[in-house]
């Protein structure tokens, strides 16, 4: 295929313990480490492997976010994406708006395959893949753990609650990467230097004319309920009697 589009979201690093602001207006993001959404790294890695097998020519990384998301796109370029597009937007976007924005980029770029992460670990919405494929009227395969290209079709194994499901879909298609699709490569220093010279286009969100209806409003943020403090037991006998007391064994 000619082109694969990969979504790259700038998110709070997965190791950060998030705190809710005391006034319940949001979460504390000042000075917090930001990274590429882990599932997006897996998505990009898959695209790179497809290209390295000679089954794709070009990989375009797309991010929708603030100017600082250029850092994450540079990481994507260092991993091996050929070029990058930042759709510049500050503040929150609703999932449907994200999908419509990606659709606008898909219309321009005409990729045969779009690979996104199965969810972003900040808002945990898990909607972009399904919505983009609906808007595009193309197949979706979420939670992919194995992708095989067979001419104009894909055979994809998905992780589902019952086990592993295989779907066959026609290209173009949108798939989302699950954890076990691959293990993303580490970026090496020379790649970071090379990435600085790769093209990164900045597109103003407003220029895409995507409607922002404001259909969802987050009105209040709170921390989750804390669990009551537990007890430590010293051996198996104490453990069993504690469980018996609770009627659990």
């Amino acid at each position: 295929m000619r082109k694969i589009l990969v979504g790259i979201k700038r998110v709070v690093d997965y190791n950060v313990r998030i705190r809710v602001k005391p006034d319940n207006s949001g979460v504390v993001l000042d000075g917090v480490k930001m990274s590429v959404n882990p599932f997006d790294e897996i998505a990009l890695e898959e695209a790179l492997r497809i290209r390295e097998r000679g089954e794709a020519e070009e990989i375009v990384a797309v991010s929708i976010g603030p100017d600082d998301a250029q850092q994450q796109l540079r990481t994507a370029l260092a991993m091996g994406a050929d070029r990058a597009i930042l759709v510049k937007h500050d503040g929150m976007l609703e999932p449907l708006t994200v999908a419509k924005t990606l659709m606008a980029i898909v219309s321009r770029e005409q990729p045969e395959l779009v690979i996104l992460g199965k969810q972003a670990i900040d808002d945990d919405n898990s909607q972009a893949t399904q919505m983009l494929s609906a808007l595009w009227d193309r197949p979706q395969v979420t939670c992919a753990s194995k992708v095989e290209i067979k001419g104009n079709t894909l055979s994809v194994v998905r992780e589902v609650d019952a086990g592993l499901e295989t779907l066959e879909v026609d290209l173009p298609a949108v798939i989302s990467a699950d954890l076990r699709l691959n293990e993303p490569r580490y970026v090496k220093l020379p790649d970071i230097m090379k990435a600085k010279k790769k093209p990164l286009d900045v597109v103003e969100f407003a220029s895409l004319n995507v409607a922002t209806p404001g259909q969802l409003t987050a009105t209040h943020y709170e921390p989750p309920k804390a669990r009551a403090k537990g007890v430590m037991v010293k051996d198996v006998a104490e453990l069993i009697s504690a469980l018996k007391n609770k009627g659990l064994v």
């Binding site: 979460v27 449907l96 900040d122 909607q127 921390p223 453990l239």
Partner: protein, 315 residues
């Protein structure tokens, strides 16, 4: 009156247990009429099970050969056609089924989805977790737009049996795509209790060290009548199959008893067990974060104590 449609998850024979929890969530809206839609090749058995749930007011069935498997691209246009018939809400479970289907439905309806709905404040105001459950947000949906949601089933009790809703067959006018084809599903057939609904779960982590060693988890679980779970590290390493993963990107569960054996307690894992009634942690590192959430903690080498527990339960 709010008209709420729940899309039934099933395997052709049995209604998935998640649906009765969606019914409980739906009933928390005041002045609501709850319909369950069963799309299937032959919906009769599943429809009867849905009709028997307390809180279900009506069951509608859409029989079609194309509905034999829940392929989102094929089901979504049919669900949209049903919703356009006059529903204010359309919900599914936040399982791999619902997470796949419902956002596609939402996009076709030109609305957003509320993912992992965990509390109902009103017909248009809900709570949901973000950041792996480290923050809970209250979300308000604009009046007048259809409320599409997936329901975090661990947050709601199962609706009891005892209902007697009328079942009616409907036909939908929707063109179904041929670009997506179901090929197969590989599912481990087992007699073990189902991880998502079991009252007791024994879970193993990286500490087990091999698939061979992981068998002591299966064995203890069997003795306790418990389902088996696993951390991502244990699944990635091939000690346990993917469908046993518990956590942010695995299954979110709420058993009476969750026993974490050789699991450190990463935030992504804890997300999956926050609603467990009693958490037991067995770990040889007294500093492991799992002890911060455990109700009962035991600092020990699992290879010593797991066989001892089994023996104690046998005797």
């Amino acid at each position: 009156m709010h008209k709420l449609l729940i899309i039934a998850e099933h395997d052709g024979e049995k209604l998935n247990a998640s649906i009765s929890r969606c019914v409980t969530a739906a009933r928390q809206i005041s002045d609501v009429h709850v319909t369950v839609a069963v799309l299937a090749a032959d919906p009769s058995a599943v429809a009867a099970q849905a009709a028997a749930l307390t809180g279900v007011d009506a069951v509608i069935t859409v029989a079609a050969a194309a509905n034999a498997h829940a392929v989102a691209a094929i089901w979504a246009p049919q669900v949209v056609a049903l919703v356009r018939g006059g529903y204010s809400h359309v919900w599914g479970p936040s399982t791999s089924f619902g997470k796949d289907l419902m956002p596609r439905v939402a996009a076709l309806l030109d609305v957003n989805q509320i993912s992992d709905l965990m509390a109902v404040d009103s017909a248009h105001t809900f709570k949901r977790p973000i950041y792996a459950g480290n923050a809970i947000i209250t979300v308000q949906v604009a009046a007048g737009s259809v409320v599409v949601a997936t329901v975090r089933t661990a947050s709601f009790e199962a609706a009891p049996a005892g209902g007697n809703a009328a079942i009616s067959a409907v036909s939908v006018d929707a063109s179904l795509p041929t670009h997506t084809r179901f090929v197969s599903i590989a599912q481990a057939k087992s007699d073990r209790p189902d991880l998502q609904t079991a009252p007791k779960v024994v879970s193993g982590g990286r500490a087990l060290g091999s698939a061979e060693n992981f068998k002591i988890i299966f064995s203890l679980a069997e003795k306790m009548g418990a389902a088996v779970g696993a951390s991502r590290a244990a699944v990635d390493a091939g000690y346990a199959p993917n469908e046993l993963q518990v956590g942010q990107t695995g299954k979110i569960i709420a058993p009476q008893l969750y026993m974490a054996v050789g699991i450190s307690g990463a935030i992504q894992h804890l997300t999956g067990i926050k609603d467990a009634k009693t958490i037991v942690a067995i770990n040889k590192d007294a500093e492991a974060p799992i002890f911060e959430v455990a109700d009962i903690g035991l600092v020990a080498d699992l290879f010593d104590v797991v066989p001892q527990i089994e023996k104690a339960l046998a005797g």
